[in-house]
């Protein structure tokens, strides 16, 4: 089996990793790591014979061996170079370089009593909250990449918003992937844990960028736990280099009347996959999982979502849109699972794809598994080319063909970006979308203007 051999470098790398620098970690972390590597050893790198991976061939990733990045300084990496990734000037910025916290590049200024520190810090060592949540939510028994991340667990960010506290300034976790030319191909294993206590709220942005144009492997895990009546806005911006491999497991757990509003932008990466699962554990919890993927060339972009309605009266809404050009491939698999007791569930799942080239392709599977009878669950998927009627309309008003196509494409994207509640994040995502389109269709393409937010029609 090719996959048997593909995982061997990681197992060997883990042995080396445990042998040197990582030995200073606390016992609970070491314990998690050995559980992680054991599970990864059993699962192996997933092949296309697994239903979950049918359309996502990770052979190009499996072909190369990526060794875990050591903690080191990169003199060329300066605050000034990271400036343009800033979402909001006064944001609480946590910069992780290849998965390791960089205090010098970060800028943190909390006034409220927020429990926030990196996992390699002294504060995390004996912290009961960290131990309660770290690697407890992302399923490493079935998810090989979550297991692999756990096997190399040594740093990451832990954020706990205390009861009743609202943090207005966004928390921005900037994951930078960087390698010098003389380094071997590097893997980084970022981890973010966000827990919101009762009646608290915050906005968390997680960005993934590459500072070098070499193949690298980012395998991230994000765990978000919302206590009753809490609210989290989570925005993920993945804009790594087109040669990068990006695997991200996002795991959410929501308690009664909590609200989670997620957005995932996927633009970079040769192969990128976000596996988002949310468990609705408390009644009247509400989750929105939205996303936009843009791919060109030979990029493969993949979103897997799993929403588990475990209790009555929860709502979940998903809207994923894709813009595909070149020979790009997109995969969307969404599953909504409704337990027998989860009556009065209200769920909607939509996937729309805009194909800009004859050679692009899409595999979409919006799935429902329903065991309760009093529910409202709908899903829909569309795949289609440019709406030429709209293009004609714009052309008839004197707008050039390329610009007209750009405007229609922007309109397509704006429908989903407007679901980002946090204004600065929305502007950042919009700007990225526009600049990507301007590269192809010219600078006359206008900025995205949202004409007031409105709820999606049922």
């Amino acid at each position: 089996m090719a996959h048997e051999t593909a995982q061997t470098p990681y197992i060997n790398d883990h042995r080396r990793f445990e042998g040197n620098g990582a030995s200073a970690s606390p016992a609970w972390m070491k314990h998690l790591r050995s559980a992680g590597i054991a599970s990864f050893g059993e699962l192996g790198l997933p092949g296309q014979d697994r239903e979950d991976w049918r359309f996502t061939n990770i052979a190009p990733l499996a072909k190369q061996a990526f060794a875990v990045s050591p903690k080191r300084d990169y003199p060329e990496l300066t605050g000034a170079r990271l400036e343009r990734y800033t979402i909001q000037k006064d944001e609480h910025r946590f910069v992780f370089v290849n998965g390791h916290f960089s205090p010098s590049l970060s800028a943190v200024n909390f006034s409220a009593n927020v429990e926030v520190f990196n996992l390699a810090s002294a504060e995390a060592r004996d912290n009961a909250d960290v131990q309660r949540h770290c690697a407890r939510h992302a399923d490493m028994r079935t998810n090989a990449f979550a297991a692999l991340n756990t096997a190399f667990l040594s740093d990451g960010l832990f954020v706990q918003i205390p009861e009743g506290i609202t943090i207005d300034t966004p928390i921005h976790v900037l994951n930078v992937s960087v390698q010098t030319d003389d380094e071997p191909a590097r893997a980084s294993y970022p981890r973010l844990i966000v827990t919101a206590e009762k009646h608290s709220s915050a906005t968390v942005i997680e960005s993934f960028i590459s500072m070098s144009a070499r193949a690298s492997f980012t395998n991230a895990v994000t765990e978000i736990v919302l206590a009753a009546n809490s609210s989290i806005d989570y925005v993920k911006i993945q804009n790594e280099h087109v040669g990068a491999f990006h695997m991200h497991t996002v795991s959410g757990e929501q308690h009664a009347e909590s609200r989670l509003n997620m957005f995932s932008l996927a633009m970079g990466g040769a192969i990128s996959r976000s596996e988002i699962s949310v468990a609705l554990e408390g009644e009247k919890a509400d989750v929105n999982v939205n996303g936009l993927y843009m791919a060109d060339g030979t990029q493969l972009t993949d979103h897997h979502t799993f929403i588990h309605h475990k209790v009555p009266e929860c709502t979940s809404h998903e809207l994923f849109k894709g813009i595909l050009d070149g020979s790009a491939r997109a995969v969307y698999t969404g599953k909504v699972y409704v337990d027998a007791i989860a009556q009065k569930t209200d769920s909607k799942q939509t996937n729309r794809n805009l194909m800009l080239s004859e050679t692009a392709s899409v595999d979409t599977q919006p799935q429902l598994e329903i065991f309760a009878d009093d529910v409202k669950c709908t899903h829909g998927a569309t795949v289609g080319g440019m709406n030429e009627t709209l293009v004609f309309y714009l052309k008839s008003r004197g707008i050039g063909g390329a610009t007209a196509r750009g405007i229609v494409t922007i309109g397509f994207a704006a429908e989903v970006t407007e679901k980002i509640d946090h204004a600065a994040s929305r502007s950042m995502v919009d700007a990225l979308v526009v600049s990507q389109l301007r590269k192809k269709l010219g600078n006359e393409i206008p900025e995205i203007v949202h004409s007031g937010k409105h709820d999606e029609k049922e």
Partner: protein, 477 residues
Amino acid sequence: MQEMEELVNKEYKYGFVTDIESDSIPAGLSEDVVRLISEKKGEPPFMLEWRLKAYRHWLTMKEPNWENVTYPPIDYQSMVYYSAPKAPKTINSLDEVDPKLRETYEKLGISLTEQKRMSGVAVDAVFDSVSVATTFKESLSKVGIIFCSFSDAVKEHPELIKKYLGSVVPSTDNYFAALNSAVFSDGSFCYIPKGVRCPMELSTYFRINALNTGQFERTLIVAEEGAYVSYLEGCTAPMRDENQLHAAVVELVAAKDAEIKYSTVQNWYAGDKDGKGGIYNFVTKRGKCAGDNAKISWTQVETGSSITWKYPSVILLGDNSVGEFYSVAVVNNRQQADTGTKMIHIGRNTKSTIISKGISAGRGHNTYRGLVKVGPNAANARNYTQCDSMLLGNQCSANTFPYIEVKNTSSSVEHEASTSKIGEDQLFYCKQRGITGENAISMIVNGFAKAVFKNLPMEFAVEAQKLLGVSLEGSVG
């Protein structure tokens, strides 16, 4: 709700075993059994070769396990692969048919004489694996239509069989298709020549009778250029405690401008309240729109079988060809259904429509699984899919697994699905106007499934609506 109880516990109406001497071979499967079947049927050598090739390939295959159904492992060596009623050797008229057999048909309400005289439907009645009587054969042959049992076709029209057998579902296609190809007992063959519009609805009633006999039917329908045929398949099976495997293969070939309409009402024994007994219905059904402007339409009403596992598919090869799939699947008690369709768009301007209505009650599990695949050359392909589920009770499930693969830009694929229950307000409204709960449920469910029923031929539509009433447990209220 007592009425509901009665409705639920309604005995399987068609549960009886006809005591006719059958010609069976010992249980078990081997190359010798395949040879024996072929020999008993007096088949030409090419047929035996084809069977053996399929059998040898089957040995190399593994039983699939990706489906969303569970059942105990099937012991393929404990089954009898051939069983034929000992009927007179040749039949010239209906009077020569075994009276007991005739009686069975009377009970089923498909009296051959009645059918012949009244309804204008030609019935090729399959009684356990061998076709014993074919009606209307003469009037069909006048316009050049061949409608006969598969065994007869092998002997009388070997050139057609050689040309089309396995052309849509190859013997190596999947585990159950390979098994069927090796041991298929009989089935129906239908050939509509160029430009002929079949003057009547063709129909085959399947019936599983002898104990422990897996039924391996094979149907092949070929519509030549400009031809049209509407084919009905309906089935009932006697009550039985042991699970019976039914692994049929249906192949449809539609040439240029031809149209085939294939309708099924499936009401095999579903097992008792605890899921004991019942038929395993693992079927491969596929049609090929081989020529331009061809059309294939599948309509199915699935109410029986303990496990239904089938995906009537259309390969849209010819330009402008059309594929349709209309389905109502009902599961109750411990029934499981994993059914849907595959629409493979290869030609340009091809169109497909999928309407699926799943109804789950009791502890039933209903899964819609469908594939819409648009190839790179299928310019301007269109697909519209709608799959709705209705749940009655909270111990059942409704699952939807659509697969959409699109490889060009000029196509448009739309998928919509919803899940709902019978609203208490809907029920209240009906009851308040003097309609009993049972009738109200039946009415609402029939309304839910109407989009599919309207595609059935009239006599089937009536039967289907009655079946729905019988099959459903109204645990709402």
